[in-house]
Symmetry: C2
Subunit: 116 residues, 2 copies
DNA sequence: TAGTTATATAATAATTTTATTATAAAATGA
DNA sequence: TCATTTTATAATAAAATTATTATATAACTA
């Protein structure tokens, strides 16, 4: 992934917010991102996540009926630093979405892989 | 400039390379960027620069017949850090363009503002 | 002043990206 | 098994971005 491709991934509101929310929370499933980004439809979010996955920025883990997305730890260090710097210095950019997320009822329970 | 807008500015080859070349060199005029990005036409480069200027990322200074573009020092600190981190960790991304630039004959002389 | 160099802009066409709607598939649970 | 929940995908439409070509402007130079 060259720098331009990397930044194309960040150059969209839904994609950037999803990345920052996932970076903040560790991992999130599609239904949690739907709750956080309440104004966006499910296929819209799914398509953007599919894009980020196919470019190698996100990983997925399937557990029961949920698909959890996380930041791929194998992306270049500078890219990880860009994401965490952007998150740290722009919390207000995702604050309302974090609030919506934490207000969400019935969040899927996470089961550590050791106990499945 | 919110984070998404900022990253839209970086999400194009000509724009990102121009930004990194300018960050590396301090300031560059359009004809120098044309020499560096030899494969791109003048109006193409001018239009992308106009975009970056209108979004507040670049400043211009006119000296004689040339227009010199530089990074606006007033953009958010995190944004400046993103640019310098990207530059530092991806020199190879612009190396051929820096070489073309330094091979360019008759680069416009810079006159410090004190001596104009 | 006429020609040249450097840069910008406008009009249009081409391309790419994004959204919408409908539907499918996979897993769960009654 | 049937209904429900969660997620993905496909088809199409809509919107946004980008490229191309032509032209304009401004400054310098002979």
């Amino acid at each position: 992934m060259n720098p331009t491709e990397f930044y194309k991934n960040l150059a969209d509101d839904i994609r950037l917010k999803s990345i920052l929310l996932i970076a903040q929370e560790g991992e999130l499933c599609v239904c949690e991102l739907m709750a956080a980004l309440a104004e966006s439809s499910q296929p819209k979010i799914s398509r953007h996540l599919a894009l980020l996955k196919s470019s190698g920025l996100l990983l997925t883990r399937k557990q029961k009926q949920w698909v959890f997305y996380s930041i791929n730890p194998d992306i270049a260090r500078w890219a990880q630093q860009v994401i965490s710097l952007t998150l740290k210095e722009n919390i207000d950019f995702i604050t309302p979405h974090l609030q919506a997320l934490h207000l969400m009822g019935a969040r899927p329970e996470r089961i550590a892989s050791c106990c499945e």
